[in-house]
């Protein structure tokens, strides 16, 4: 299985602050990778850089064999990288259906269209004409995922879809993931909820202050290893 | 373990050596300018009067747009109202040279209810709204036949003066108005209001939440700017000796103000001075080429707005750290602290 996405020596800055430092990552096609880490670890920056809304300072991003480091975000979306951004960010003046159709503005060949999304989240069927403003957080998240799917992406980036949602709703959203993955989509998800990440992903990556501190399959990673990596307890010398 | 020296004391200063020199220098410049009517011809003082008029208007527009964030395309309303105020006052027996200063007060009074309407719009819509309001004043005054109606009227009460003396007094009045505008701006910005304005300019909502009376600060600035524009309008009438509504209320004045402030450096006190000098120089150089110089000014303004948004002075000041007029605060002793590791 070839690597769909490769990050090599990636360093990303927010102004003068280094959000990611010299990061390497390889994601095989058809697999699911979860990125975990404390707030400020660089997880969202990582996704935004892969999607193209943030420019790296150094390093390369290779997608499907193509160097996309300099490719603008809208073209990466057309090439098959779709980000479901933090905070959902539906288009408030558009209806549910229009939000989905907007996601298909640039689409590739594939199984995802409005009926397919409705099959995934059946409640959408009756509320297609509702304004996106009137949806609850969980519903907005579902539509946001649907909007990204409408582009038939090869790589789906999910940024903290559980944020601000009740556990029951989060569970329902994650139930949809296997269907998405079964369609052949590679998924890279960022998740605060570590147990959810371990349940869903093939491999897990833990970030701390912009660097990888732990990586492996859920089976390999014990709770203690994750805990110490997550909070940086394995570093010598205490706090600087 | 590092040894720590006694912590350096911190002090807050308003100005440094540069600003003292600027103060002295400005005083010298004003004195020299005041003496000029005795030295040079009236055509030279006439050009300087134009420069002073433009500078006064621009400093006021800069106060509005660069410091209070109120971009108005309607300041010509007060230029016109000021001119007509002087005209009306002269009809009622008030000496026009005095009338210029009264016109400032008249415009501030008119500006108060005007602001109640204008402030209902925000951003770009505020800009065009002020233009509409200027047009309303324009049209209203065009209907006043006592003041000359649509074709305007001449100011006759200065005809007793010897022309050279009249032009000299006009020059001094222009100098006084301009100096007052610049000085007024400087004092305003050094005051608490100035600090409030900087906060509003940076982040209006945050400023409001720290107790800055945002609405009142903006309104006060609007009144001051209108008064300044009004006085300048009075100066224009006195120097031209006649006024016509189409020209005194022309948006061309705002075009000049915008050019001068944008090219010179918006949000700085030194910027408009530099911009006014550049403008008058260009005007004098290209006067014979018809409207080409206006096209040149327009292109220059666009280029500066996009590629040099801080303006000429602003870019220089940002790069070099030089500030002639000290309207900010600086903390002394911080470098020492850093060196000692505290």
């Amino acid at each position: 299985m070839t690597d769909l996405l490769t990050l090599s020596g990636l360093t990303v800055h927010h102004g003068q602050l280094a959000a990611l430092t010299d990061l390497d990552l390889a994601l095989a096609e058809g697999t699911t990778l979860a990125v975990i880490g404390a707030n400020g670890a660089g997880k969202t920056t990582l996704l935004r850089t892969i999607a193209g809304t943030h420019r790296p300072t150094t390093g390369t991003i290779t997608f499907a064999g193509q160097d996309v480091t300099a490719m603008p975000a809208h073209r990466r979306a057309a090439e098959g990288i779709r980000l479901v951004p933090e905070g959902r960010r539906l288009f408030p003046s558009l209806t549910v259906e229009e939000n989905l159709l907007a996601g298909a503005y640039r689409t590739r060949k594939g199984p995802w269209d409005v009926p397919a999304v409705v099959e995934l989240f059946p409640w959408i069927g009756e509320r297609k004409r509702q304004s996106a403003r009137q949806l609850s957080g969980g519903e907005q998240q579902a539509v946001a995922i649907g909007r990204a799917l409408m582009g038939n992406p090869r790589l789906l980036l999910l940024d903290e879809i559980s944020l601000g949602l009740a556990p029951l709703v989060v569970g329902q959203l994650y139930q949809a993931l296997p269907r998405i993955m079964a369609g052949g989509t590679t998924v890279l998800l960022v998740e605060q909820d570590v147990s959810q990440a371990l349940r869903t992903a093939d491999r897990v990556l833990c970030l701390l202050e912009g660097r990888t501190v732990l990586s492996g399959t859920p089976a390999e990673l014990t709770a203690e290893r994750i805990e110490s990596a997550y909070f940086g307890l394995t570093r010598t010398g205490g706090t600087s | 373990m590092t040894t720590v020296a006694a912590p350096a004391t911190l002090s807050v200063r308003r100005g440094g050596r540069t600003s003292v020199w600027t103060g002295v220098g400005s005083g010298v410049v004003v004195l020299v300018l005041a003496y000029l009517p005795y030295l040079v011809t009236t055509s030279v003082t006439g050009t300087i009067v134009t420069f002073l008029e433009l500078l006064a208007m621009s400093v006021m527009w800069n106060l509005l747009a660069g410091y209070a964030g109120l971009v108005s395309i309607g300041q010509q309303a007060y230029v016109g109202l000021g001119a007509y105020a002087v005209l009306q006052l002269s009809d009622w027996g008030v000496q026009p040279f005095l009338g210029v200063f009264l016109a400032a007060a008249v415009c501030a009074v008119i500006a108060l209810p005007t602001s109640l309407l204008a402030f209902r719009l925000r951003g770009d819509y505020f800009a065009v709204g002020t233009w509409v309001i200027a047009e309303v004043y324009h049209l209203l005054l065009s209907r006043d036949s006592a003041l000359g109606g649509g074709s305007g009227r001449a100011l006759t009460t200065l005809s007793d003066f010897d022309p050279v003396v009249r032009q000299a007094i006009t020059y001094w009045v222009a100098l006084a108005v301009c100096a007052l505008c610049v000085l007024g701006c400087y004092l305003l910005l050094r005051s608490r209001l100035g600090l409030a304005l900087t906060a509003v300019r940076d982040n209006e909502i945050a400023a409001g939440s720290t107790g800055v009376a945002v609405g009142r600060a903006k309104r006060l600035v609007y009144l001051v700017a209108s008064a300044g524009a009004g006085a300048t309008g009075g100066v224009i009438l006195v120097s031209q000796l006649n006024v016509a509504p189409d020209s005194i209320f022309s948006v061309q004045y705002t075009a000049y103000m915008i050019f001068i402030v944008v090219v010179g450096g918006i949000g700085t006190l030194e910027g408009p001075i530099l911009g006014a000098i550049i403008f008058v120089v260009i005007q004098q150089l290209f006067a014979d080429f018809g409207v080409w110089y206006l096209i040149l000014l327009g292109v220059l303004a666009i280029a500066v707005a996009i590629w040099l948004p801080r303006g000429l002075w602003g870019t220089f000041s940002h790069w070099s750290g030089v500030r002639l007029f000290s309207v900010g605060y600086s903390v002394r002793g911080l470098d020492d602290r850093r060196r000692n590791g505290t």
């Binding site: 975000a73 960010r89 558009l94 503005y105 582009g151 | 395309i73 800009a127 309303v136 080409w292 666009i302």
Partner: protein, 289 residues
């Protein structure tokens, strides 16, 4: 009776104003830009048509068919060359850039055509009118302009609500970055919006030029009318723009009936009244700005 005639003329004039205004409304809705050169673009269109008609045997209709696509391209270019760089700098820069553009266009036209007024020759159509009753007749040109306004507004509305590009334009207006994530190139979307704005305002300029005379300096007044129509009607509503245009036209027409010198003032006063008592306009937008 003469007042009824004034009412009819005023309402029809609203069509012309709506045609002037819809481009301004679109640009503000999508890009948050008030194009201060908006009126001057219309005048530029009138002069281009004038030159085409003077230099070739084509006539008004042919000139229109040339001017409109030219202005679409012109709009797209102005967007990418001038407005996009200005947008990146900040909100003040777009205001200043379009203001500078207005100055440049007005003075370039002044230089090229002198300040004399011109008109677009439509032959006998200029005086052809439809007689409704004994005292009321409406000029065919007014009717055509009004009909065109309705058609253009309906087309714009359909474009925005039914087409993919229109939908993504609304999406980009809501959230440019999220639209980028769906594959939209904001520069292209803005370019299309500006192109549409320029085409509609050029059409307005042409229709105006057929009914009245024009000169290089009338641009700013057209901008003010367009602006007033948008504000009276309500920011963010295309059909509100038609309503706003009609209210403005009605005010001006009735004002003119009372006293010809009162025409413009009447319109401004209605604008200020709306600003004072109903600032959100007659048809307020549902979305918060």
């Amino acid at each position: 009776m003469v007042w009824v005639n004034a009412i009819v003329q005023g309402l029809l004039l609203g069509g012309l104003y709506a045609l002037f205004a819809c481009g301004l409304s679109l640009m503000f809705g999508v890009m948050r830009i008030v194009n201060l050169a908006h009126g001057d673009i219309a005048v530029l269109g009138s002069f281009l048509a004038y030159s085409i008609i003077a230099a070739t045997p084509i006539g008004v209709l042919g000139a229109t068919l040339i001017v409109l696509p030219v202005f679409a391209a012109f709009g797209y270019l102005v967007q990418s060359g001038l407005l996009s760089p200005a947008l990146r700098v900040g909100p003040l820069s777009t205001l200043l850039a379009t203001f500078g553009l207005s100055i440049v266009i007005q003075n370039a036209l002044q230089q090229g055509y002198t300040g004399d007024t011109r008109a677009l020759d439509v032959g006998s159509l200029i005086s052809a009118s439809l007689r409704i009753t004994g005292q009321i007749s409406v000029a065919y040109l007014s009717l055509i302009t009004f009909a065109l306004a309705v058609v253009v507004l309906a087309a714009l509305q359909l474009f925005l609500s039914r087409t993919g590009t229109g939908r993504i334009m609304r999406a980009t207006a809501d959230d440019p970055e999220a639209a980028t994530l769906s594959g939209a190139n904001p520069r292209h979307v803005y370019g299309v919006a500006t192109a549409l704005a320029f085409v509609t305002v050029a059409l307005a300029g042409l229709m105006f030029g057929m009914q009245s005379s024009f000169s290089p300096s009338i641009g700013p007044t057209r901008l003010l009318f367009a602006f007033e129509a948008v504000v009276i009607g309500g920011l963010g509503s295309l059909w509100g723009t038609l309503l706003g245009g009609m209210v403005l036209g009605l005010a001006q027409s009735l004002g003119a009936q009372y006293d010809p010198a009162f025409t413009l003032l009447a319109g401004h006063i209605i604008f200020l009244a709306v600003l004072a008592f109903r600032p959100q306009g007659l048809i307020p937008a549902r979305r918060t700005a």
